[in-house]
Symmetry: C2
Amino acid sequence: MVFADLEARAAALDAADPLAPRRGLFHLPEGVIYLDGNSLGALPLSVPGRIAAVLREEWGEGLIRSWNEAGWIDLPARVAAKIARLIGAEPNAVLVGDSTTVNVFKTLDAALRLVPDRRVVLTDSGNFPTDIYAAEGLAGLRAGGFEIRIVRPDEVASAIGDDVAVVMLTEVDYRTGRRHDMKAITAHAHAAGAVTLWDLAHSAGALPVDLVGAGADFAVGCGYKYLNGGPGAPAFLYVAPRHLGSVTPALPGWLGHAAPFAFDLGYRPAPGIERMRTGTPGVLGVAALDAALDVFEGVDMAVVAEKAARLAGLFVEGVERACRDLVLAGPRDPALRGSQVSFHAEEGYAVMQALIARGVIGDFRAPDIVRFGFTPLYVSHRDAVRAAATLAAVVNERLWDEPRFKVKAKVT
Amino acid sequence: MVFADLEARAAALDAADPLAPRRGLFHLPEGVIYLDGNSLGALPLSVPGRIAAVLREEWGEGLIRSWNEAGWIDLPARVAAKIARLIGAEPNAVLVGDSTTVNVFKTLDAALRLVPDRRVVLTDSGNFPTDIYAAEGLAGLRAGGFEIRIVRPDEVASAIGDDVAVVMLTEVDYRTGRRHDMKAITAHAHAAGAVTLWDLAHSAGALPVDLVGAGADFAVGCGYKYLNGGPGAPAFLYVAPRHLGSVTPALPGWLGHAAPFAFDLGYRPAPGIERMRTGTPGVLGVAALDAALDVFEGVDMAVVAEKAARLAGLFVEGVERACRDLVLAGPRDPALRGSQVSFHAEEGYAVMQALIARGVIGDFRAPDIVRFGFTPLYVSHRDAVRAAATLAAVVNERLWDEPRFKVKAKVT
């Protein structure tokens, strides 16, 4: 199936695309259209060389001296400053390390301590489950516990009552792409005496995020999706500077101590965001993320978001024109969603396997969502149109109806 | 300074050393004698090639498919099985991931839940401070809190009273090298109705450890010291299988869920050790550790420990013969210590800097400890003798007495 008119439009858009040259900064497999950068970003070409140098020169030759001489000790702070620019944070308010889940645990505890007289954490059913699991773990630990109140995404604003301590949301829904209005919800939460914890897993590196402008209190995010830090890359967390002085870390560790190398038996928090650090950062992962973030140098996130909307728009137009069996999941209006679109699809798992076998990689999310992420730094408008044509062919011609496409892998 | 007799003995020992060929598995800088493998192990030569393949082939070409096709999802379990052999653990009782500090937090909470009627965590002043900080954090969170009782290392056995819930110790003291008797203390703790949490940071890969034989309940350990996993490598934790069924994770996360890809809003723990997992493992760090652990293939840890004792013995003999200003810190008997020796040294910081400038790398621990780790897979007997001669020269000839050696670096 070919969409001649869409192809022509896409070609014109590609020719005029200021981000087109960025594609050359990535390794992309031959014959693959990659629409799963919202699960694992593609490999920036700067990463292998950087990591080889970290291994051979810094670790191999420098050994323990590299904590000082190669600047390993300050590396997480340098990476945090790069991320801060992408999410509209103050430069010294971001910490890189641990996993997103651990960071939810840390920041949710810190948030709860700011509102000691309330016992409700409000979240929605579109949050990524691990955030809720971390909250469950914390509720089981904390004296008195707390209630985790889960509402539908569209009910969040009205559910912010005066018993809510923390509004904990993922800005962009991992399945449908629906985007919360961070500024409005944060203002609403503050007016009700609550604080906010935003998970930026599907926002950072995808959309313009303005934590300062929104007045956000806490945030966390993922290093391996739109930030392209590699599989299981270190995550990050944000604490608004106005809260930092009063934050007591739930998970204190030696590198968050005011004087780590004094080896005191008692904990004293470091003055700044470092107090939220727990153990020794994984240098390989942080260095890979550092090199990866260079692809964003000089990039205006508003331009990225505009292109993402065009990519997704072309894709949806193509799919809907050719294929009536796929129903859009989530908002049609790009202003209301993140950098992805999803469709409900019967036999969605097999559909996605068949699509991958034809070189278009998206992913499947139970129970019936086929999901496509648009990463404007390395996806072209023509990619979007061709992916739509391939998806329509897979569905219309029932190309998914082979036993091999129905065998579930461990990671689905 | 040269010790002709010690050099001759060392040469003979090197010639007969069954571990000598292992040195060829590591990258070691020219002109350096590296006695800091207890802080950061040397680079195994297998690591750069493995990581290059993970980057180019698995991440770059395979992209998201590599979770299944390159086996990323099972990689932590394969690494855990390698570590299990080195620490005498059951193969399915070890989990790789997070930092040691986070793992102390997780396992200490699990241990406390086993003894709900007691409120004392007993530790000693030789424990690495971060373990105590993690306990402080947990005490601040847990309903009712608990007391962290810190005694001197030699008082531990007599301090295990019937109010103690958990005996939390690092087997080998990071400063003095003094080694606790894990089996005796564990038996003592059990007799008193307590459970044990052992930090193996300075044991795993250095000494024969027998968690099963000792009847240990919980353990944690570090990937970047004797296991050579690289700076900030993933850590590990151990839960005795008899406890696994009743362990509720303090830090639950999506990859510890019984069905991670069902994306349920409520947490249900995985049946086995995986329930202790929180977030997505950092694949680069886990892969580096995996490749690094191959240097232990076929190695008998008893042979490693015997060589370590000989290396340290030669070093102490040389230092003490030549230099009266250095006083041994910690036990003289190798059976009572780990794979390191330390000396009290006035101006120890400057002494260590001067020593490093002469190609012998150990490290300094406040207030006055110069510390030397012996890693038998890549340190020779002649290295030990030459290091002793260099240290004696630095002290006797006051070679440390230059301003440049007294300027403290960030990491000291």
